[in-house]
Symmetry: C2
């Protein structure tokens, strides 16, 4: 699950609890499920389920150590998102350029 579609990414990040978990992992680095549960306002199973979805979307990686599971953010996973926004911006700029060209031609 190295790469994911924008669809999975948007869906995974659409939920506030999930986005908060991902943000914490980005800010503070690797953490156990227990640590993540403390501070999230929801139960441990809820946290586990969210982490499962984030993992499926390629946004986090897990590592088992003894009886705890450590999760960490996978930064690369955001690339498709950045690509998508960039693409939308480029479309927009292209149309803007076309309009500009048109206006210039009309001006002459």
């Amino acid at each position: 699950m190295t790469d994911a579609s924008p669809d999975l990414l948007f869906k995974a990040l659409a939920d506030p609890s999930r986005r908060a978990l991902f943000e914490r992992l980005c800010m503070d680095g690797e953490q156990t499920v227990g640590a993540l549960t403390a501070g999230a306002g929801i139960s441990q199973p809820a946290v586990s389920k969210h982490l499962g979805l984030l993992k499926q979307a390629g946004l986090v990686l897990d590592r088992h150590e003894g009886r705890q599971t450590h999760y960490r953010a996978q930064q690369r996973a955001l690339a498709p998102l950045v690509d998508w926004t960039g693409r939308m911006n480029r479309f927009w700029e292209a149309r803007f350029d076309d309009l500009e060209d048109l206006l210039k031609r009309m001006d002459q």
Copy 2:
């Protein structure tokens, strides 16, 4: 509704139909509801509802002309998304730098 939280944006873009509508508006520019409905695989009321949500999220603007409504993408609306991804990347890099520093110090 000039600006919106990342939450509204992520939620609005999480649905494939909605994202497709927004992509079409970015690529092809302003379009009527009728034009957008043709090509979307869903009914006109469904399209209208999605456009309503996109508008609420600040992603599109509408313009009434006679009996039709024209929608267009508002490019600026993606800014909070770009900011957010940038912030996450910066957190990640900061932690990476810390690790690098630590390793350097340990090396001496």
